[in-house]
């Protein structure tokens, strides 16, 4: 079935878009999902995600204890240092409570804690990770009769009462006039030129940890149409990743987790910072920022350090002696040896003493940016007057900066995407229904 004037068009077939499509479909709307990626790569960044943050009043079979609205909001306030739209955040936090049931109704399976999975009070884990979730949601959408166009990109948007969008698909251009649009096309982190404008030339060295299809085209069209921006350009979640990993879609496995067990030096042999100062999960973000500011660097480990660190996805570069290692990774040998001697002299727990020595070249890896569009509590895109546009909704990473102006909380990306997607999908279907009732 090809519907050319669907009730609702969802731009973006990531987890926010699918949540919106399913919600709108269940509310009775005809829905078309336009997904830029081909089928094998569809689903956006949720493919790389594992857990999500959920409010719950009492222990559940997935999470012990309780995590109430106030504590959730307080956590959010802390990491964002207040840069959050409280009303929108509260709406999404409340909507998170029944996400497990809703997802289970879509055929999504969670992994019960136990065995190798320690119980977590604030987040729940998917069985098999986010790709399994994406597969289930696409299947549920198909069951509901949602049409999906793969390798199809939204390229043009005319807002206002006579909403119109242009889609580019298989060398053809389609102009559609849907009743409502849900913009769920993610952030703009895959557009390196845009990143260079916001982050400076360092962006040339960024690995983009997620999908190459998040080019920010929809975000740009919305801003051009007058949508109010949210967040701050040039701010993003950066972590240290293995520079040998792929430019895009390296996901979670290229993140360098061994920093506290070794020595980090830049290309001239200078030590970057105290490696072991901070072992909390937040140290990842600190190192990402440092690499962006100071240039690429190399993590040096000795055999003991390597053994104590988790197994990295890519085998480190190894050598029996430090100068040999320096040659292999292109560092000045004398500088490496001097840095190792100085490092050992400091008497920290990690040492560079036992061969074979290992090196992991590192570069900054961008997870997402803190920039997007602002929405109101019904996920309507806020226009210049601050009011939400009646037929224009946004969900997921494209509006996440409105809740997460800076920082990050584990599992929040998916929670925002699913909660906002559902709300946007329902609201879009509702809008179309009431419009049809009027005419």
């Amino acid at each position: 079935m090809i519907i050319l004037d669907p009730d609702v068009v969802v731009a973006g077939g990531g987890i926010a878009g699918l949540s919106a499509a399913i919600a709108a479909g269940r509310a009775g709307a005809s829905v078309l999902v336009v997904e830029a990626a081909p089928k094998a790569l569809r689903g956006g960044n949720a493919r790389h995600a594992r857990n999500l943050r959920l409010m719950h009043a009492a222990p559940t079979d997935l999470m012990p204890g309780a995590y109430d609205e106030a504590e959730f909001l307080a956590d959010l306030g802390r990491v964002t240092e207040g840069e959050t739209d409280r009303a929108v955040a509260l709406r999404l936090i409340r909507a998170s409570a029944d996400i497990p049931d809703w997802l289970a109704g879509c055929g999504v399976a969670f992994q019960r804690p136990g065995g190798s999975l320690p119980p977590s009070r604030k987040t729940a884990y998917f069985l098999g990770g986010g790709k399994a979730v994406i597969n289930a949601l696409y299947q549920e959408a198909a069951r509901l009769g949602v049409t999906v166009w793969h390798a199809a990109e939204l390229v043009g948007l005319t807002g206002g009462r006579d909403l119109a969008i242009d889609i580019h698909r298989a060398d053809q251009r389609y102009t559609l006039r849907p009743g409502a649009l849900v913009a769920a096309a993610g952030g703009h982190q895959a557009d390196i030129d845009w990143l260079k404008r916001d982050f400076g030339p360092a962006a040339e060295r960024f690995a983009i940890r997620g999908t190459p299809f998040d080019t920010g085209r929809v975000l740009r069209r919305l801003l051009e149409a007058g949508a109010r921006p949210a967040g701050v350009p040039g701010r993003g979640h950066l972590v240290a990743v293995d520079a040998r990993g792929p430019r895009f879609d390296g996901g979670i496995v290229t993140r360098v987790e061994a920093i506290p067990f070794g020595l980090v030096i830049d290309r001239t042999g200078n030590r970057l910072d105290d490696e072991a100062a901070d072992r909390a999960r937040t140290h990842f973000a600190k190192w990402g920022r440092l690499l962006a500011e100071r240039g690429d660097a190399v993590l040096i480990l000795d055999a003991d350090g390597e053994r104590r660190a988790p197994v990295p996805a890519l085998e480190p570069i190894r050598a029996a002696a430090l100068d040999e290692l320096a040659a292999k990774v292109g560092l000045p040998p004398e500088a490496l040896k001097a840095a190792a001697t100085a490092f050992n002299a400091k008497g920290s727990a990690a040492r560079i003493a036992t061969p074979p020595f290992a090196a992991i070249p590192m570069c900054p890896g961008l997870t997402f940016t803190h920039f997007g569009v602002a929405v109101d509590e019904a996920m309507r895109v806020r226009m210049p007057d601050g009011e939400g546009a009646a037929n224009l909704f946004a969900a997921g990473a494209i509006m996440a900066a409105c809740v997460l102006g800076r920082g990050y909380l584990a599992g929040l990306g998916l929670t925002i995407a699913i909660a906002s997607g559902r709300l946007a999908g329902e609201a879009a279907a509702q809008y179309v229904r009431s419009r049809d009732a009027r005419t």
Partner: protein
């Protein structure tokens, strides 16, 4: 096509899994991988036998092709598994046969059937062969008991010896060091439960997959049916042997007797299970499968289905003139089945049991370890 060197490819992929572990809830292979660091060849063989080939981790993999990491755990472990069968095969020379397994299984079965039919035709006077036999000792009027029992016993002994020695060699390679009997005693029932329930085909509760989309417990159920059916058939045969040669009661037995009833139910379960699995295979998406392992699997399933079906036919026609030919066919297939066992996909059963035992031992140790650490933390 040259044989791909499986071990380096398996290590490359499993490192990525070690760093990722998103699939840890599907089966025992991932937690076992998480307990390891460097992967010796024996570790790889162990993990490969722990993998039950449910394919869930392929469809859920964020790094499956077209991603450059090209992670494909089910296919890679199927290759490692097949190589480990060859490595531990007894007699050693059988190892090479695993490479062309489909043909070997089919050929041996065919040879056995032809021999059985030919021998029957040559040795049994045609009046006796095509006459309807009824009453005590009817089967043995067609094929003398010594021939029937002798061929079966020889084939059985060969099969047990081959499987047993191969499994012993595999266990020696993968067994954990110095297992105190206390740990072993706790681990054994765990391993038994994993073997009997096929827990690792349950996909963490969501079932296994032939293609992307919803999983189901169908494959697990069919496999259970096949195994239970095979078990009942073995029971039927042994009980019949006991009746005939210890108690002196001559076959054929009435329908409501233990050998016939268990043979009947067993034959149906075996045939349905094996045929169902063959049908499922036709629906399977090719990506997570290793093509070079498919022939042997398909041939073995076909042979099992044929053994079950011909057994049922013998029961159905035992009062008619067709009994002689049916019996010869069935016996030929059984002997063929037993003859190919040490070089067949059936090796997976005892190897997997061995791997599950090592896994249960490791889990016992890990729990003991956490308990000790928890005690420390409380201080």
């Amino acid at each position: 096509m040259p044989e791909p060197d499986t071990a380096p490819e398996a290590r490359r992929i499993l490192r990525i899994c070690q760093a990722c572990m998103y699939c840890e809830g599907f089966c025992a292979a991932f937690p076992a991988l998480g307990r390891l660091r460097d992967l010796s060849e024996d570790d790889l063989d162990h993990l490969a036998s722990l993998c039950h080939g449910c394919r869930d981790c392929y469809f859920a993999c964020q790094y499956a092709a077209p991603h450059v990491f090209d992670v494909n755990v089910p296919r890679t472990l199927a290759r490692v598994r097949q190589a480990s069968y060859a490595k531990h095969a007894w007699p050693r020379g059988l190892g090479g046969l695993f490479r062309s397994n489909g043909r070997v299984v089919a050929l041996s079965a065919a040879v056995a059937v032809v021999l059985a039919l030919a021998a029957t035709l040559l040795l049994v006077p045609s009046e006796a062969l095509f006459a309807a036999h009824r009453g005590e000792g009817a089967f043995y009027q067609v094929i003398p008991w010594t021939v029937m029992a002798g061929a079966a016993a020889a084939a059985l002994a060969w099969a047990c010896l081959g499987l047993g020695l191969a499994t012993a060699s595999f266990w020696r390679a993968i067994r954990p060091a110095a297992v105190p009997s206390r740990v072993l005693i706790r681990a054994l029932p765990q391993a038994m439960a994993d073997i009997v329930t096929l827990r690792n085909l349950a996909g963490g509760g969501t079932g296994c997959r032939e293609a992307e989309g919803t999983g189901s417990q169908l494959r697990r159920a069919l496999h259970q049916s096949m195994v239970a059916g095979l078990g009942l058939c073995v029971l039927a045969t042994s009980v019949a042997g006991l009746y005939g040669h210890v108690f002196g009661w001559q076959a054929p037995y009435p329908v409501l007797s233990l050998p016939v009833l268990s043979g009947l139910i067993g034959g149906v379960l075996l045939t349905v299970g094996a045929a169902g699995l063959m049908l499922l295979k036709r629906r399977a998406a090719p990506e997570p499968l290793a093509p070079e392992t498919l022939g042997g699997e398909a041939a073995m399933l076909a042979l099992l289905a044929a053994v079950g079906a011909t057994g049922l036919i013998v029961l159905a026609v035992r009062d008619t003139a067709a009994m002689g030919a049916a019996l010869a066919l069935h016996l030929g297939l059984v002997v063929g089945f037993l003859a190919v066992l040490p070089a067949s996909k059936i090796v997976h059963a005892p190897f997997r049991a061995a791997a599950l035992l090592r896994d249960a031992i490791e889990r016992q140790r890990a729990t003991a370890e956490t308990r000790r650490n928890d005690g420390r933390n409380e201080r």
